[in-house]
Each structure stands twice: as C-alpha cells, then as structure tokens.
C-alpha cells in the first residue's frame, strides 16, 4: 500500500489586496485630513444643537478667552495666490505707520491666531519656531499685555476687522469664546463688529443632541 500524500497547502492568506486597499485609504485620509490649527489660548466652547459646519475658507476668527482677552485670526483666502493675510497686515502697517520686511510678511502669511498689539507683532513674527511664539504669547499673558486692544482709545480690533473686510468682502465672521467668558466682553466684541456693519456671526459650539416632545 502506498502512502497517500497529503497535498501541502500554505496556511498563508494572500494579504496583498487588503494591503493595497489599506494603503489607498491611508493615503486618502492623510491627504484630506486637516489638523486643528494652533490655538493661542485654551478655549472651552459651549454646546448647542446646531449642525452647521464652520466654513474653512474666508473666515475671520475672533477668539475670546476666559479673561476676555481677544485673539485674531484670518485665513489666506480661497487659494494661496490671494494672500489675504499679507494684504491685511500691509494695510494695518500703513494705518499704524509701522514697517515690516518682506520676509516678515511672508512668515506672517503662514502663521495662525495671535493676540497682541500690532506694535509688537514683529517680535512675534521674528521668533524662530512655533514653540518660541507660544512662549512669547505666554510671557505677554504673564505681563498682562496680551490680547488685541479693544478699548476706545486704541481700538485695534476694529481696524483689523475693517481692513480685513476691505481686502475680502465675502469674509465671514466666526466668534469662539469660552463658556466662562463674561457676556459683557463678548457683547463688546459684537458691538465692535456691528459698528463695522457685520451683523451675521458664527459662534463656534460643540454639537449636542437634544430631543423634544410636546407634553399634553
């Protein structure tokens, strides 16, 4: 009797298609994902039922932290050629008779939110890396010199808003304030915006589902 030979089968499954698919998905997600931009202050937003998504282009963001300090941010517009940030800074420099170098303009266009008077903005731009900029912002906070000035004597925020709207007429305004911020501080910012003829605001909130029923 001859021995029956069992055909040897490899226990391996061919994972190639799976790996292919995964690689594809991974590339897709890596390319499409947008990471959260750096925030100058920790802001814990309140929640609402609104499901509207924040616009990711052409938005002027005003952040208000717990102490009522104001931070300002805007994007570069629909594409990189529009250079809104540079244009706004140019106008701002003209307004406050300041000088920025071309390199500073270029660096500024790549940065995000800031909260300081425009007179010391060049110091912040000149910092070598994001960590040093954060440190600079923190030092200002300790010295209580942070935030965009909003008082009537030198209302820089009003100028930032006005000049931004001159550069881009379609810009939308987003307001991000902390839950614990005093309403008066927020109201003041809303008033400044309304003086500049901005009547529509996007308040950043967290999504929270609520079910309602009518009781009889």
């Amino acid at each position: 009797m001859s021995k029956i030979k069992i055909q040897k089968k490899s226990p391996h499954i061919d994972m190639t298609p799976m790996v292919d698919l995964f690689a594809l998905l991974l590339t897709f997600f890596m390319l499409t994902s947008t990471f959260r931009p750096q925030e100058p202050a920790v802001i814990d937003t309140p929640s609402s039922i609104s499901e509207k998504q924040a616009p990711d282009k052409e938005i002027l963001n005003i952040s208000i932290d717990k102490e009522g300090k104001v931070y300002f941010n805007l994007d570069n517009g629909p594409d990189t050629t529009t250079k809104f940030r540079e244009k706004v800074l140019e106008k701002m420099a003209e307004q406050y008779k300041l000088k920025f170098t071309p390199k500073q303009y270029e660096t500024f266009s790549k940065l995000s939110a800031f909260g300081m008077p425009v007179q010391i903005l060049n110091q912040w731009i000149d910092k070598k890396d994001p960590t040093r900029r954060d440190e600079f912002q923190k030092q200002l906070k300790e010295a209580k010199k942070d935030g965009i000035p909003t008082d009537s004597a030198d209302n820089q925020l009003a100028w930032w808003i006005l000049l931004t709207r001159q550069v881009d007429q379609n810009i939308q305004v987003g307001i991000k304030a902390d839950m614990e911020t005093d309403y008066k501080a927020v109201k003041k910012i809303l008033d400044i915006l309304q003086d500049k003829k901005v009547n529509k605001f996007n308040l950043t909130t967290n999504l929270e589902k609520v079910e309602v029923k009518i009781e009889n």
Binding site: M15, Y183, F201, L203, V212
Partner: protein
Amino acid sequence: MAEIIENSSGKGSGGGKRKPKKYSAAIDMTPMVDLMCLLITFFMLTTAFSKPKVMEIVLPDKTIDTNIKPMPIDKNRAVTIIMAENDIIYYYEGLAKADSLPSLIKTDYSKDGIRKFLLKRNKPLLEQIIAFKEKITKGELVLPRDSVNSELKKLRNKDKVGPIILIKAADNIKYKNFVDIIDEMAITNIARYAIVDLNHLELKMLETAPK
C-alpha cells in the same frame, strides 16, 4: 508587495538534477496590516471630529432708520427672559408697566426649566413643525434638504400666535448662558426672538426678584 510564487520545477540550476531548496517568497504582511489599520482608524477619527460646528446668529442692523417704526409687540405674545447671575433665568409674560410690575418667575437652563415653559407657549407652531417633519420621515412628502429648511422657515413666518421672546442680559452672566438661551430658542422652534437691553423697570424688578 505582490506575492511571488516560486516555480517548483528547478530548471536552470545547472545541469545537475539536484533541486534547489525552496524558500517561500511571501513576506508576512500581518504587522504591516496592523499598523495600517491603526493609522487609518486614527485618521478617520481625527478628520471626522476636527471640523467645528457653528451656531449662526444674525443681529439687527444698528443704524436706526427713522422711516421705519419699530414693530409694536402684542401684549399677549410678549415674553421677557432675563438672564441673571449664577445660571438663573427670570421670565415674565406680557409687558411691564410702571404702575403694575409683573412678578418675575425664577427658573433655570435645564430640561425642565425654561424649555418646558417655551414648549408650552409655542405648542401651535411646534405641532405644525412636528407634523411636517413626520410627513418627511414617513415619505409622504419628498423634498430636498434646502426646501425642507425653507418650508420650516415659512411655517415660522406664518406663525401668528407663538410667543415673541425678548432676551435680556443682567450683569455678570457668562457667555455660556447666552449661547444656551439662543440654543433653547432653536430647540423649541421659537419663531420670533430678539436680544435687547434691560430697561429701568426690569432693573427695579430684578431687585425684588426671588433669589
């Protein structure tokens, strides 16, 4: 990445009949798959949640046009909500007059607080909205999303009996309170509300308000 299946007939390895030792050319891809799985999950979760949500509010233009008279508010529809310190809400129905100050009712931002009252007041409109939404979920009415919203807007504009809410803020309230009350308006589908300042009568009423 493809798996190469080695040819079992060992031709071309010289003239001898000695078979070359077979090595599997397949690489174990499990760790790679593991890693990719992990990365995909990470990217999927971060992308989905990183887009913030916004609540849109539109405030009336501040430039006063003398040609337009302010709309008179029906006494029976007026409801004034006053947001006060420590997450307290006071409200009263009707309008305040110097000779007969209405008493303030104290409530809060919870589910059984102001929401219950607003739902009760806004019942006629809410019933219409719920009936309309039901029609859509049951498929009796097929509409694109945009026209659903405009239909809802129409329903709100047609509303003639629902409350007109005047939202007022006392001192020392937090931004959270403001967002909460606007949100409450959205939850209870209030058709008309406005954010206004406190008048002197209400300041007086607040002094004697229940703490």
